[in-house]
Structure formats: structure tokens, C-alpha cells
Amino acid sequence: MKFYFESINEIFFMGGHGIYVWIVVIVLFTTLLLLILNFALRINRLVKEIKTFSQIKDN
């Protein structure tokens, strides 16, 4: 394993192709993050709803 690039500038530009690569990376991680957050938040909200609902019933 050998580090391929020589400077930070080169990592960003990648000989003119860097913009494509990094756009895809950004979109990938936003998609994954949105998926995970979406479901985690939904679960939290649902659990809260169920809890309040059962409390109302108990009272």
C-alpha cells in the first residue's frame, strides 16, 4: 500500500477529475446519513407515541 498523491491540492483535483469523485462521495454519505437518521428519528417518535398512548390508557 502506497500513498498515491503528493499534495493536498492533488487530492482535491485528481487531474481534473476530482470534482466528479468528490461529488459522488458527498452524495453517497448524505444519502446514507439521511437513511440512518430518518429511520432512527422515526423509531424514537414512534416509541414516544406508544408510551404516551399507553399512559393515557392507564390513566
Binding site: 487530492i11 485528481m14 422515526r42 399507553s54
Partner: protein, 242 residues
């Protein structure tokens, strides 16, 4: 004993318990592994002779398109189990895969079209594989809208399972489209039967990224199937006592 194990595991309650326990470590491991594989692929592999640096998109594009097809197959498998043995859990899992599959397929199309700009000079081409992947995306969206259009969960589940089984014919067509029709899209770099037509230096991170992306998506499937179970089993006593 095996039967008993399956019976216990297949109840939504015990599945939910196990899933809650393993979900976070599972996700964490595969996220780290995927980030490692990406870093390896993006920064530590040499440049491609023909495509230049833009080939590095392969480490995101190939796992996504692979997983988008595998997810549909898993969905079909779950649907068969549901239709034959009436296992509730399997249709919960199948249902929870659909939105994730749509997202992954969308990403596969998106990354492919971005990759197409520098290499093919066009971001979209009506060739067989791209079109059939678009069909896969439409199938996922159609399945989601089908399921949400019923207010009766039981009917919706059965329709969902039938349509998934009908849609499976698309998967071999996507897989084979590049071989059957000579098009712009390059043919598969890795096959089970032949030696891979790709340098071993790039192959190792590619395999690692496919594997870890699959694991990562499976982690998200666990997450969303937990949501689905909670949603459907709201009225059960074990959910209320959580």
C-alpha cells in the same frame, strides 16, 4: 431443535430484541470498514491507464449497483417465505427493504451518470443496463406506492409479495444485459467463473468496499425493520412494555 430455534427467532418480538442489541455495533463496524475501503480505494491505489482518476468512482458505484440487485433478491426471498409459511416477520423485513433499495438504486444511477461525464462524454445513455437499472428504481417506487395505497395491511402485504415475485425477472436481465447487448457500458470486471479483468491492486479495495457496503446497508435494513415491526405491532403488549 433447529425448528424451535427458527420458530423463536422468527417471532417479531425476539427478532426485535436481537436487532436492538446488535444494530449499533453492526453499523459502526461496517461504517468504519467502508470508510477504510473508500480511503484505500480513493487515495492509495494507482491511476487507471485509460480512464484516469475518475475510475475511482468504481469504489462507490459498483457496490451500490450490486447491493441494489441483491436487495431485490432478498426481498423476493422474504416474499416467498411469507407466501408459503405466512411468516409475518419476513414481510416486515421485505417491506422495510423497499425504501432503502430505492435509495441505493438511485445512488447507483447517480454515481454512474456522474462517472459517465468524464469517461463517455454523456451523463445518460439509453443502453440496456442503465435502462434496466432505471426500471429497478421504478419497481421499488411502485412497490412503495402500492403498499401505501391500501389501508388494509394484510391485503397490502400479499399484493406486495406477489408483485415482488413478478419483478424478479428484471434482475437476471440487468445482470446479463451487458453481455447480451454490446453497449457503452463496460462488461463486468469481476465474474465468478473467469479471472478478473482488473488489476489486483485495485481489486482488493473493490472487494472490501462491496463487502462492507453490503454490511452497512444490512445494518440500515435492521434499523428500518425495527421501525416496521414497531409500527405494525403497536397494539401488542410487548411493544407497550418496552
Amino acid at each position: 431443535m433447529l425448528k424451535k430455534f427458527f420458530h423463536q427467532f422468527a417471532s417479531p418480538k425476539s427478532y426485535f430484541r436481537i436487532a436492538t442489541k446488535i444494530q449499533n455495533p453492526f453499523l459502526l463496524i461496517f461504517v468504519l470498514l467502508y470508510v477504510f475501503a473508500l480511503a484505500w480505494g480513493l487515495l492509495f491505489t494507482p491511476e487507471d491507464y485509460i480512464q484516469g482518476n475518475s475510475y475511482r468512482i468504481i469504489f462507490m458505484h459498483v457496490p451500490a449497483s450490486f447491493v441494489s440487485q441483491i436487495l431485490f433478491l432478498i426481498m423476493a426471498f422474504c416474499s416467498v417465505i411469507f407466501l408459503v409459511w405466512r411468516l409475518k416477520l419476513s414481510i416486515y423485513v421485505a417491506k422495510s427493504i423497499a425504501p432503502i433499495g430505492a435509495a441505493v438504486t438511485f445512488f447507483a444511477l447517480f454515481s454512474g451518470s456522474i462517472w459517465g461525464i468524464p469517461t463517455w462524454g454523456t451523463w445518460w445513455q439509453w443502453d440496456a443496463r442503465i435502462t434496466s437499472t432505471l426500471i429497478l428504481l421504478i419497481m421499488y417506487l411502485g412497490l412503495i406506492s402500492l403498499h401505501s395505497s391500501f389501508n388494509n395491511y394484510e391485503k397490502a402485504d400479499r399484493f406486495f409479495a406477489i408483485i415482488v415475485l413478478a419483478g424478479v425477472i428484471n434482475i437476471p436481465i440487468i445482470k446479463k444485459s451487458v453481455d447480451w447487448w454490446s453497449t457503452l457500458h463496460q462488461s463486468a470486471s469481476i465474474t465468478l467463473t473467469d479471472a478478473p479483468s482488473i488489476d489486483p491492486l485495485m481489486l482488493a479495495p473493490l472487494f472490501l468496499s462491496i463487502f462492507s457496503f453490503f454490511g452497512l446497508i444490512m445494518g440500515i435494513v435492521i434499523l428500518s425493520s425495527r421501525y416496521e415491526i414497531l409500527l405494525r405491532e403497536q397494539s401488542k403488549s410487548w411493544v407497550k412494555s418496552l
